[in-house]
Structure formats: C-alpha cells, structure tokens
C-alpha cells in the first residue's frame, strides 16, 4: 500500500474517531422526514446549470448527490434525476424542496421517507432551530461550532476540506514585489486565527492540501515571523500599502482579514482590509484577496488540480496539468512551487461542521467529494 493510501485511511479513522457519534446501539427504523436548513437559495436544480455562488453551488451539489446514482470522475453527476436515493417530491423555487425516498434505489431504500430542505436560513437561525428542535440537520459555520456545542447542539465535524488563502493580484505593483508578498506571508499568525477566530475548529495551512490528503502538509511552515517580516518589509522602497479584499458577505473572511491586518501592522506593514463590492470593480482595487477553496475530491492529485483551476486567474500561477499518475512527491513539488512564490498564501483549513437534531441517528460526516449521507440516517421517534 502506498504511503498516500495509508495516510488517507489514517485520516479517515481519526475523523471517525473524533466525530464518534455513531449510534449503533439502537436498531434503525424506517420513516420520518429529515428537516434540513441551508443558507443558500436555489432557484433551479437543472443539472446543466451550476450556480456561481459557492454556497449555492455547494448546496446544489449536496442535493444532486441525493438525486443521482452515478458520478463522473470530474465530480459531475450522471444518469437521470431520481435515480439516486431520493427524488424531488416538491419544489418551491428559492424556498424549499422536498425529496422523497426512492423505493427502487439500487443501494436500498433510505430509512427516512423524505427530506424537507428549507432554503435561505441564516446561520444564527439555523443554530437556533437546531437548539429548539425545529431542524434536524444544518450546516453551521466552523467558528460557531464550539458555541453551538456549548448550547447543547450535536455537532459533527468533517475533516478539513476548505482552504482559506490569501491571493495576490497579479500585475499590481505591490503584488509583484516578492519581498512584500513574503513579508506579509511571514507576518501572519495562523495559529491565532485557528485558536481564536475559528475557536480551534480548523488547522493552520502552510500548503494547499491538508495533512489527510497528501500527508505532506507538515512540511510547510505555518509559524509567524514578525521580525523577519519587518526586515523584509523594510527593504521595500517608498511607502507601499496593501489593500486586502474579502467578500462583503463573508463574516469569517472579514475576521481573518482584519486579523491579518493586525499581524501586518505588527510587522510594520501598512495593510487595510476592505470588503469587495459586488459587482467587483475592474481592475480590482485590492492588491490581494481572501479566497475560500473547497476540495472536491479526496484524492490529492484531483484536489490539487481543482485548486489550481479554482484559484483565481489573478494569481497568475502555472496552470500546467499534473500527470494523471502523479506521485505524492510530484504533488508536493507542485504544491511547493505554488506556495513558495507567496502569490498564494494558505492560511487555514476549515472543516465542515454539521449541527444535528436530537433524533438523528447514524450520521457520518462525509469526506471530501461526498454528499450528505442521508441514505443511512434514520430518525428516532419523538416518544423515545
């Protein structure tokens, strides 16, 4: 067995151990409706149309995973809608969708009869509904996981699968200064971001892939070096200033950007965090921006390729394809090549955090590239 496979299985095991809320003490039962709340608002489930908004795309992907039986290597779904474990029973655009269990699903009928998905619910409302039992399942922001657990919500955390990175905009004078890029990258205290902002739900990121993916993340340094950053910054002539943009609706991105600004200020770097207006001005006013990239595959090569294609063109990275049978070393080298230029500065890895209602049983946090595992979930009766 290759090193990569061993690392992957170890990571899966650790994740399962951490999430260890496997309800195996009871016998599964059929029936019931899982009440799911999502923040995204979907207006179409057409397989040909992929929403531009990442949250909407993610939600649609989760629903499609329930509707389709087959999936292509690139992550798209094959077959017809309804060939999966569920089919669409009700659809109200932008508000809710009800999925009914497919009696003829080749993998066996799901335990629950249906899944009622309500769209457009804010994070704090989702958390509140989980608390009061109005919802059975909802994704919650990682930084709220600890708070949710303290409030009695059952929390399921996935392996880290979303990268928050800082990407310099190619062509901007300060972004083209290697010293400036490295100074900023060194000034950032990633551990503080994970511990305080993410409330320890996440990992400092030095490379593009998480440790469980290629097993080489530990080779990338995540330590802050304010003194080195200050030295580097002092070598820059003039009075440069960096504008760091973040998506205006992304509160986590804002918190991270503001922390980056504090770290940068400590190193003498003049950096201001500013929300990116929608639509984005062209050319962009910011010199760097925060991006959030989600792994679409548990396989490191595909994950890295998707990152490379997913990273904004603004970074100006080498987009040459990786060999189909790229080894871990080759993946690491490519990863190193991307990171060493400091055009992309990985900051933290985020897990997906799910809040579960009290009656949800046999929930297993999905790995990257997999959808919500509602096929195996069953609901305990209220009376019990």
């Amino acid at each position: 067995m290759k090193l990569r496979s061993c690392l992957f299985l170890a990571a899966i095991s650790v994740a399962l151990f951490h999430t260890g809320r496997v309800e195996s003490s009871r016998r599964p039962r059929y029936g019931g409706t899982v009440r799911v709340e999502v923040g995204a608002v979907l207006h179409s489930l057409d397989p040909a149309g992929a929403p531009a908004d990442p949250d909407e795309a993610s939600a649609k992907n989760e629903i499609d995973a329930l509707l389709y039986d087959q999936r292509n290597p690139d992550g798209t779904f094959a077959g017809v809608a309804g060939s999966g474990a569920f089919h669409i029973a009700e659809w109200e655009s932008g508000k809710h969708v009800t999925l009914a269990a497919n009696e003829n699903y080749r993998g066996g009928r799901a335990f629950v009869d249906s899944i009622d998905i309500e769209m457009g619910r804010a994070a704090k409302d989702r958390l509140l509904d989980l608390e009061v039992g109005k919802a059975d399942f909802a994704e919650i922001p990682p930084e709220e996981a600890r708070h949710a657990a303290e409030r009695g919500v059952r929390v399921s955390t996935s392996l880290p699968e979303e990268l928050v990175a800082l990407v310099f905009v190619a062509g901007h004078s300060i972004a083209e200064d290697a010293h400036a890029r490295e100074a900023l990258a060194r000034s950032i205290d990633r551990a503080a971001i994970v511990n305080f902002i993410l409330q320890k739900e996440g990992e400092p990121a030095g490379g593009l892939l998480p440790q469980w993916s290629n097993g080489t993340a530990f080779l990338f340094s995540t330590a802050a070096d304010a003194v080195g950053a200050k030295d580097l910054w002092s070598q820059i002539s003039g009075s440069p200033r960096i504008v760091l943009g973040y998506d205006s609706g992304d509160s986590l991105g804002q918190a991270i950007a503001e922390r980056v600004a504090v770290n940068a200020r400590d190193a003498g770097i003049v950096l201001s965090a500013e929300p990116i207006a929608s639509p984005e001005p062209s050319p962009p006013r910011y010199d760097a921006r925060l991006v959030r990239l989600r792994i679409t595959s548990s396989r490191p090569r595909e994950a890295l390729v998707s990152f490379q294609s997913g990273l904004p063109a603004i970074a100006g990275l080498d987009a040459s394809p990786l060999p189909a049978a790229a080894s871990s070393e080759q993946i690491y080298e490519r990863e190193r090549a991307v990171v060493s230029g400091y055009r992309v500065v990985p900051l933290v890895w985020l897990p997906r955090v799910y809040g579960l209602g009290a009656r949800v049983r046999d929930w297993k946090a999905p790995v990257a590239g997999e959808g919500w595992p509602f096929v195996d979930v069953w609901l305990e009766q209220e009376s019990q």
Binding site: D189, F196, I197, Q199, K200, A255, A261, V262, D266
Partner: protein, 627 residues
Amino acid sequence: MTFRSKLFWVFTIALLLSVGVIAAGVTVVARRAFDDLNRQHSEALVAQFEGEFQRRGQDVVHRVQGIADAEGTVRMAIDLGRPKADVSMYVNDARGVSQSHQLDFLDFVATDGAIISSNEWPARFGYKMDWLTQPQDWSSVGSFLMKVDTQDGPALGLMAVSTVRVGDRDLFIVGGERLGKDFLNSLVLPTGMRALLYLDLDPSFQPTNLVDASGTVVDGERLASFIEQERQEPREQTFKVSWTADPASAEAFHALPLQGRQKELLGVLLVGSSQQEVVKLEQHIRDLALAVVAMGLCFGLLLSWWGAARVTRPVRKLAEGAREVSEGNWGARVDVRGRHEIGQLATAFNRMTTQLTEQREQLVQAERVAAWRELARRLAHELKNPLFPLQTTVENLQRAKDQSPEQFEEVFKESTGILLSEIEHLKKIVGRFSDFAKMPQPELGPVNVNDVVRGVMKLFDAQFGAVGRPPISPELHLEENLPVIQADAALLHRAIENLVLNAMDAMPAGGVLMLSTTHQDGSVDLEISDTGGGLAPEECERLFTPYYTTKQHGTGLGLAIVQSVVSDHGGRISVESETGVGTSFHIRLPAKPPLRSAPAHSKDVSAPAVDEHSEAKQPEAPPSKGA
C-alpha cells in the same frame, strides 16, 4: 469756494467727525460688551464641558466597575486563573458586554497585558497593553483620557480600568466612551456658539481629526496654527478666525487642552463663538451712523443754505451794490437792515454812494460849466477872428465915406468883399458846430471796411504826391478775408477821412501813412498810423473831448465826431502815441453793433462828456505836440 460752500463743508466735516467718534465709541463699547459676553459664554461652556467630562468619567468608571463585578466576568477571571486556561473562548465576549453596557471601548486583558477580547478591535486579541501591567491602583485613578487604537485608527476615549483579581492573577477590564461628535452633541450650547474637538492622534495636524457635533469641520486647516501652538505648549488661549472674507464669518475660539494620565496632549476643546452678532451690531451702528450722516448732510445742506443765505445775503447785496457802482451806477443802494456789522457796512455803503452821486453831479455840473466855458472860449476865439476884420472893414467904410466917391467905391468894393468873405467864414464855423450837433443815427448795412478804406484813400491820392505839399507815402495793409460788418458806410467814411486828415496834418514834413485792417472774433480792427511828432500823454487823454484841438485853426470836433461814429457802431477807439515816433489810432468794430436807444451826444449835445468807448494809451516817452 463760496462762503456758503465753506460753511457747508465746515458743518459737514464737523458732523462727520462727531458722528464718526460717536459711532466708533459705540462700536468699541458694543464689541467689548460682546467680547465679555462671549468670554462668559465660553467659560460657561468650558465649565459645562468639564462638568460633563467629570460626570461621564464617573459614569464610565461605574459601568466598567459594573462589568468587573458581573458574574460572567468573575467566572472568566476564575477560568483564566486556571493553569493552561483557554482564552480563545472569550475572544468575542467584549463585543456583547460593551453593547450591553453601552461602552464604545472595552477590552478584557489578561494579567500579562495580553488582550483577550476587544470590542473596538476584535482582531487584536493576543496583543499586549503593556501600560496596564505597570503597578497601579486603578480603583483610585478614576477616569482618564487615552488614545485608543481601534480597527479604524486611533481614537480618543474617556477611559476607566477595573480589575478582577483571582489568586495572583488579574483580569483587567478597560472600558470607555469615544470622545467625538457624539460627546459634543451632548453639550448644550447657546445660540451662536459651538464646540469643536481636535483629536491629537497623529504626529502632525490633521484636518480630519477636527470634529464638531456634525462631523469633520469644513476648512479645519484654518485652525492648524492654533492647534500646533497647543501641541507645542498646551494652555488655555483665545483667538479669532475668519472663515471667509465676510467679517460676519469671524469666530472667536477659546481653546482648552485635553491631557492624558501622563499630561500628554490628547486633544483640544475649542469653544467657538460666532462674531456674526457683533458684526451685525457693528454694521447696524455703521448703517445708523451713515443714516445720521446722510440726514446730517441734508440738514447741514439746508442749515448751511439757510445760514449762509442769512449771513451772505447782505454781503451779496453789498457785493452787488459795489459791482453796480463799479459799472457806473453810483446811485446804487443796498437794502440791508440790522444793527450788526453787515448792517453798519451797508449803511456806510449807502452813505458812500449817496455822497458819490452828489459829488458826481457836482463834478458833472462843474464839467458842464467848464465845457460851456470851453465852448464859449472856442466860439469867442472862432468868432473873434472874423469879427475883427469885420469891425476893421466897417470902420474903413465909415472912414471912406468922407473920401472921394472913387476912393469910397474902391474901399466899398474891397470892404464888401472882405465882409462877405468873413461872413462866409462865420457861416462855416457855425456850420461845423451845427454838423456836430446834427450827427445822424447810423443806417446799418453790410459794409466791407476795406472798401471804405480804399474809397477814402482814393480821395486823397491826388494830395499825397501834389507839388508844394509834404510828401506822404500811403501804405495799405488790408486783410482780404475781412468779414462784412453791419455799419453805416458813409459815417465810417467820414470818420476814417477825419483820421486821415488828422494824420496828414500831423506830418507837415511828410512821412508814412499806414492803414491796416484785421479781424478777430468777428470784429474788424482798423489801425491808422502816422509817423508825425506824436502826442503828449495829457493830449492823448483829452484828444476825443469836443472842441479840444492841438492845431492852430482846428475846431476840436474831428476826433469827437470819429469817437461818436465808432461809439454809435458799438466799437471802441484808442490811441497810442510816442513822441517823435508817431501816433496810431485803433478802431475795433463789432460785426453787428448792439442796439442802442440813442447816442450819448444826441441826448445832450451841449453837454460834452468823455465817451466810454474811447481810451488813450500813453507812451512812456514824454509827449510832444504835433497832432
């Protein structure tokens, strides 16, 4: 400048000066009063600010202490007091607590000074507030001003610190209120006053740091120099600033430095007092003064008019009377009553003119007597000459009656011839006197003086070169473009003829007779000069007096006739003579003679008088007879 004008200006200047002094005085007093009022307002506002500052400071202290005493904070302190305490779980607490306690700034700080949670800068967790770790009894410090680092930049805060001690560890609670426009909004300001706050947060003056109740002050740069003074030497001071060219935009400021715990300057409170009311009052005073001046000018004009009229009317009458006297009206009288100096002067003037009139009548009477005497003398002289041969002839006839008839016949024939000759002579003499008395009125018509001159000279052409007569060379200098005048050609001819005859008589040994014509301002000038022996000054003075002659057999009427003709044409005649050089007569005839009722001589032919249109110019050399 007339006396009235002088009086007007004196009155006006006096009025302007007095109004100006009064207006300036009122302005100064009003300005002082406003300055005092503004100073009192400023002091009251500063006192209000200080009171509000203390009140808010106490409030901040209480609220921070309330947070420190809260159960959650104590629990946090206990939790943080444990070994390997996880501070990350409190990273967001400051925000909620600050909101519930209405504090702009709130930081939970660990015993080592590291920020656990910050409301004003949430991302600043982990960084240290070293100033907190210095030994200090924060409970006795109370509130204080402090420069607070926030996410949006530095701010000025009214802060307080409280501590929760667990074991040997402290949890610092640093809270406060932002000192800015909201604070200024809470101040109650009198009308026309405002409070500005400069937040001394940057190394140099920044206009954006100067705020008032509505936000950043517009044109705050104008206060830069005063703020810099405060930065150099913090102290209370007052100054004025003009925001625009309009004086009403001026604003007086009272500056109060705001200092922190270490007496460092953190801000400057500026209490501004608009000068608009002062300027309005000054403007009002100025307008009022101008109105008073305008009214004063009108009043002064009227008063000076009346006063000057009252004072100058008798003076003017006196001047008018004097002018009339100078013009010959010696009987002029001035109607001024009163016992003042002008009245006395008028009385004296009237007495003088009365005496002048009486003396003039006496003089005229004397001259008339003298003229009659002269006439009588001339007549006696003229008549005596023919009478003596007449008497002698008659006596010869009487003696011849005793002689033989032949002798008698011879004597008779001779005597009758003499008698007839002398009688004819007497008739001529009487005729000349008669002619002078019968000078006709000129019959005006267009006349070219050059033509008249040429006509006269033509009569004398034969005599100028005649054998046995003195050789006289006539010279004519006649201007060709002479204007045509309204005149009587015959009378002019006669006058010029008389002058030519006079000139020929004045040159018994011959000489040059020159006649010239020119014109000026529509008048025609005629000059007749000879190169005779000239005249004495006294002769020149009496030259135009009738019956006065310097010749042995002249009647003395020729030049009188000339003068009469010239006068009847509205002209002037003058004579210049120099002994040994010659004599020149200058005649100026107007283009059109003025209308006259009758010539002077026709009024009183028998009363010889000096004509006003004749004059004699005396040469400097002693005169000699010859004319």
